[in-house]
Amino acid sequence: MPEIEVIFASWVAALLTLAVFSFIYKENPWFRFVEHLYIGGTIGYNMAFNIDWLVKNAFIPVFVKGQYYEYVLAFILGLLWYCRFSKRFFWLWRFPLSIMVGTGIGLAMRTVVMAQFIEQIRGTMLPLVGVPIWDPKRVAGSSLINNILIILMVIGTVSYFYFTVERKGAFKIGAEIGKWTIMLGLGAGFGNTVMARMSLAISRIGFLVKPEQQIAFLILAIVILGTIGYTSWTEKKKAA
């Protein structure tokens, strides 16, 4: 890409980034503009990709190569999606939806029992003999303490979410263990969530402070903050 295009591209990206960051001060026209641009762009590239896939995998095989004529029925059923916008023909929209939902449910249900249920239960049946009591080199690895904790905690968590039986006796103890497990687990999850969110901001601010972006960053920051500051000041003056 010629250099002038590279510079122009980086200024555009920096402008949009700073316009969105200006939201943390207050909502303003810069942010609203980028927000709308983003929505339009997202729908635009979604459309482009979907049309591209349809042309390459459906229309060309049928209309150019003369294969898979059964796809014409799929095209007709696919067009029925748009009956959603008609009050009179709304009921036709249910046909492609029912096929999609039925297929999706069938695909999910046939393997969910093995992949997410039996495997998880099997994974909880951990050895209690032949393992060290504690392995300091593998703190989350297989050891007697960890294995006992995992078994109790998994049973506890499942008990905690069982609301149709009165909590008393052993079930109450299980639910209590589950409650503490969930607290620790979700607390750990919170720590990871903070890292995830901060990483997103680090990536964007890292883009702005790159040596080739710094001039664009400074000038555009002054322009954006200046315009927001000026409009805030004039609004306060009018209100006063």
């Binding site: 990206a13 980028v34 492609p96 297929t103 905690y160």
Partner: protein, 226 residues
């Protein structure tokens, strides 16, 4: 209501397709394999046709915005311009095999066109990534305002969270390597147990919702909001 408009017909279609997919997997009939793969491609093509629903919905919101000059109507203009521009530029090329130096002519379009690439790399990626990066600021503020050790349970949650933060920050592990071990244990044992319990619950929920849909008790998705 005319018989062809009754809900029972789509519910029956849903059940038939679902049972076929399940039956075909468990009974492993070789003659059904090509039928299944054709059916799945058919369903995929039909599903992709729904691409225009979002496009039309956006037009139904933003065109009246502009016509009636509602609040923030000027912003709908760049939205629609970019939406149409990207759709048109992204239309696939009609050349049988695109040239290696792709997109030197306006007539060769597609998502590999330089204008599409420019817009996605320098407009959509910065906008999308930065909008989500605002969460970093909000989570810091939310953690400060809401994260109080009001009860023993909240204190446990808070302690686990702080220990994970210390594990994830290289400065924390530089101060004391033990934070790495504690964090690894937290995510590998209690968090794993908690998420396993939730995963089992999700699997049971999937089965329950699936059965409810197959027997026609779950029909909310047919309402459509229209």
């Amino acid at each position: 209501m005319a018989w062809y408009k009754r809900m029972e017909i789509p519910i029956a279609i849903t059940t038939v397709f679902a049972l076929y997919m399940i039956f075909e997997y468990f009974f492993n009939v070789p003659a059904l394999k090509p039928v299944t793969s054709s059916l799945l491609v058919f369903v995929e093509i039909m599903g992709v046709f729904a691409l225009g629903l979002g496009f039309i919905s956006i037009l139904m919101v933003h065109v009246p915005n502009i016509r009636k000059k509602r609040l923030y109507w000027p912003y709908s203009i760049p939205l629609l311009i970019l939406m149409f521009f990207l759709t048109i530029i992204g239309l696939p090329t009609w050349a049988p095999t695109p040239p290696k130096e792709y997109g030197t002519s306006l007539w060769i379009l597609g998502y590999l066109h330089p204008w599409f690439q420019f817009l996605y790399l320098n407009v959509i990626v910065p906008a999308d990534a930065t909008i989500f990066s605002l969460l970093a600021f909000f989570i810091a503020s939310a953690a400060y305002r809401a994260f109080r050790a009001r009860t023993k349970e909240a204190a446990a949650l808070l302690l686990a969270g702080v220990l994970m933060l210390l594990k994830n920050a290289p400065l924390g592990t530089a101060i004391w390597m033990g934070f790495a071990d504690i964090g690894t244990w937290l995510i590998g044992i209690p968090n794993m147990a908690c998420m396993r319990g939730i995963t089992i619950g999700i699997a049971l929920g999937t089965i329950a919702i699936g059965i409810r849909t197959l027997i026609g008790r779950e029909t909310g998705y047919f309402r459509g909001g229209g």
